[in-house]
């Protein structure tokens, strides 16, 4: 037989000029918007507030009022970043304007740290120097600038620099102790022991519920893919679970688990009762089951029937076909379900604080009771960070696993 090479049926790929120009335009608009917001937040709005203690109202200042020359420097950095966004893009322009935007925020951060230190020296340990709305808007502005800059930066290295520079600079700044007297840092230092304990519990909820969802949801998804009856029963109940408001769901679980704990000594010995970790864990698990099960079901249903037919026709047993053919082909989509479950559980674990189950939500509610925004953020920021890290990490794994998936689409 002669080798045949008929492969002329592949579509040509390449950038579409019009689309590229439009993307470039939107990068400029986003970059300019970011720089503009950055500049505005420097000159107006509450950037920093000084209070003798947590409870009382304090004095709010704009960045220019609070920092003087350093405020003008930040303003100049924002303006430069906007100017670079308007120039013709070259290899370095993205990194440059991202660095300018980040530097503006970092400059003001360092200045705020210094102001906080002198305020604390004057007022004592109870003094709190807290960020106001303008600061958080400036963070958003820096993100917009970096985001649009990343899009116009060609190399992977350049994009990594844009993403990592602000993080590394922030860690370096914190390591010098320059930020130690800021309200949020002080609250964190004060609650450090609690923080570590609640972070652990929070991770237990997020990872535990996701782990449970993997262990139960994948077999349930496989079962649903194999039988319409199983699908109706399983997906029907999971859908029902989804429509309950989370807090109401926890409320339902409390008497049920409480009764179980009272009735059976072994259940009680596991630490399961109406309050504490058990009801929250069950609710998070039910929520996490949905994306994992549904994605497993969909992924297996999407497999080319001819592939399954030949697997069976060549003598694979059902298990062999499942592990050697169906699961590998379903893997990227199942993983996407796991990612959704993990991100969702990470945010959802705040619930535990409502029923004495601990977690970072406890710190957040404590902050709300104390009307201390800094303390609220000590609870909330790590949750956001965890969710982002989990999401990005699993996306990377998906993309690596999807290398083969793309080629059989």
């Amino acid at each position: 037989m002669a080798s045949s090479t008929t492969s002329g049926d592949r579509p040509a790929t390449g950038p579409i000029p019009g689309a590229a120009a439009r993307a470039r335009q939107s990068d400029v608009v986003i970059g300019l918007t970011g720089a503009g917001i950055g500049a505005l937040t420097t000159v107006m709005g509450p950037y920093l507030s000084f209070r003798p203690n947590r409870i009382v109202d304090g004095l709010s200042q704009t960045a220019l009022e609070a920092f003087g020359p350093l405020g003008w420097l930040a303003l100049a950095l924002w303006a430069l970043s906007g100017l670079v966004a308007l120039t013709r893009p070259r290899a370095w322009t993205g990194a440059a304007r991202a660095a300018l935007g980040s530097s503006a925020v970092l400059t003001l951060l360092a200045a705020a740290g210094a102001d906080a230190a002198s305020f604390a020296a004057a007022q004592g340990a109870a003094a709190r120097t807290s960020f106001g709305a303008s600061f958080y808007l400036a963070l958003l502005a820096a993100f917009l600038v970096s985001y649009s800059a990343s899009a116009e930066t060609p190399g992977r290295l350049g994009r990594a620099v844009i993403a990592l520079f602000p993080v590394i600079a922030l860690v370096a700044l914190a390591a010098t102790g320059a930020l130690a007297e800021l309200g949020i840092v002080r609250e964190w230092m004060l609650t450090r022991t609690t923080f570590v304990r609640e972070l652990r519990r929070h991770l237990f909820y997020a990872l535990g519920a996701t782990g449970g969802a993997i262990a139960l949801g994948i077999p349930m998804g496989v079962l649903s893919a194999r039988s319409r009856h199983a699908e109706t029963a399983i997906m029907g109940s999971l859908n029902l679970g989804q429509v309950f408001p989370a807090l109401a769901f926890v409320g339902i679980m409390m008497p049920i688990l409480g009764a179980l704990g009272d009735r059976f000594a072994t259940v009680r010995a596991l630490g399961i009762s109406g309050i504490g970790w058990a009801p929250v864990f069950v609710v998070l698990l039910v929520y996490a089951l949905f994306p994992v099960t549904r994605n497993t079901l969909v992924a297996i249903r999407q497999i080319d029937p001819a592939v399954l037919d030949t697997a069976r026709g060549m003598g694979m047993s059902r298990w062999r076909s499942l592990f050697e053919v169906e699961m590998p082909l379903a893997f990227p989509v199942v993983l996407a379900g796991v990612r959704i479950a993990l991100v969702q559980s990470t945010a959802g674990a705040i619930l535990a604080a409502f029923v004495g189950g601990g977690g970072l939500g406890t710190i957040m509610f404590f902050g709300l009771e104390q009307t201390s925004m800094d303390l609220v953020l000590v609870g909330v920021l790590p949750i956001v960070a965890l969710a982002l890290v989990f999401d990005a990490g699993l996306r990377v794994v998906e993309r690596m696993a999807g290398g083969s998936e793309e080629s059989y689409a």
């Binding site: 037989m1 045949s4 008929t6 001819a306 030949t310 026709g313 060549m314 003598g315 694979m316 590998p328």
Partner: protein
């Protein structure tokens, strides 16, 4: 030898295969032919128990297929289908090695077999073994599908319209290559198609089916010469004779006298249909037959018409 005895398969109210009895001799390529919905694919799939029977039995070499668990049975029956069904996440090598792996062959033996099979289906082992199915053209994928079906050297091969999805040029090339492969390997092949041309070209025997039943069984020549039913005549149509001609070479006929003067020259290996086409194109009634460079006689329009029905 595969024997199907009173095989019946029903789906709800419809009878897909209705009391079919058929013997498939060893080493022959038997075609199950018929219009869509005639039950040919269902009948094929009863042989490797992809379809379980409602009545009747299937024997391979005298042994009921029910005496072997389906998975084990299928590992000894090659299986190739129209949509190929290569495993997209595995390399070509691993795809071909599927059944040998199920049978527990060692790595050295598997590697040697993969190399052998790739050469057999006309693909360079060095450049194809590590490719993924998505990197293959339709024709290449189908070659790999055939190689995979042959991997563990099964005595029986089941093929369900294996070349149906290919473009006409690739289809014909693969058909011819497969015909010569079959002559070399001598496998017992059961081959489903609805394509009359393919059936006549490849089949040692054709089993013509309609509505779950066999209408007539025989070699293409037998069906052509002695159709037992109007359906056979209608199904094959007026071109049947021409298609039969394409199965035979000039060498199969008695050579006649060498024509005088200049005339079109055709080789002994030319099939009769092509020889006829040359006569029509050249507007001659007689051509000169060559064996290599040597003139061995002549062939006339009348020779084809008169001899074919008698001697083939």
């Amino acid at each position: 030898m595969i024997e199907l005895r009173n095989v019946t398969k029903r789906y709800d109210t419809t009878v897909a295969v209705d009391d079919v009895t058929l013997t498939v001799p060893d080493g022959e390529l038997t075609i199950l032919l018929g219009p869509s919905g005639c039950g040919k694919t269902t009948l094929l799939r009863t042989i490797n128990r992809m379809v379980e029977l409602d009545a009747g039995e299937v024997l391979i070499d005298g042994q009921s297929i029910r005496s072997t668990p389906p998975e084990v049975l299928r590992r000894h029956i090659g299986y190739a289908i129209q949509s190929v069904g290569l495993f997209p996440h595995m390399t070509v090598r691993r795809n071909i090695a599927t059944v040998p792996r199920l049978l527990g062959w060692d790595a050295v033996r598997i590697e040697a077999r993969v190399t052998e099979l790739l050469s057999l289906v006309g693909l360079d082992p060095a450049s194809y073994a590590d490719k993924r199915p998505a990197e293959l053209s339709g024709g290449e994928a189908q070659r790999i599908g055939v190689a995979r079906a042959l991997a563990a050297d099964p005595p029986v091969l089941l093929m369900d319209e294996p070349f149906g999805a290919l473009d006409p040029i690739n289809r014909e090339r693969l058909q011819r290559e497969f015909a010569s492969l079959h002559r070399r390997l001598g496998k017992t092949v059961v081959f489903v198609t609805h394509d009359i041309e393919e059936a006549v070209l490849l089949g040692d025997r054709i089993v013509l089916m309609r509505e779950g039943q066999i209408v007539q069984t025989g070699s293409p020549e037998e069906l052509w010469r002695g159709p037992e039913h109007q359906f056979v005549r209608d199904f094959f149509g007026d071109e049947f004779g021409l298609r039969i001609l394409s199965r035979h070479r000039i060498a199969d006929l008695e050579p006649g006298a060498t024509p005088q003067g200049a005339s079109a020259r055709v080789h002994l290996d030319t099939n009769l249909r092509d020889a006829l086409a040359i006569m029509v194109t050249e507007s001659v009634e007689r051509v000169t037959i060559l064996d290599g460079e040597r003139v061995v006689g002549g062939l006339s329009f009348c020779d084809i018409v008169t001899q074919v029905r008698g001697s083939l």
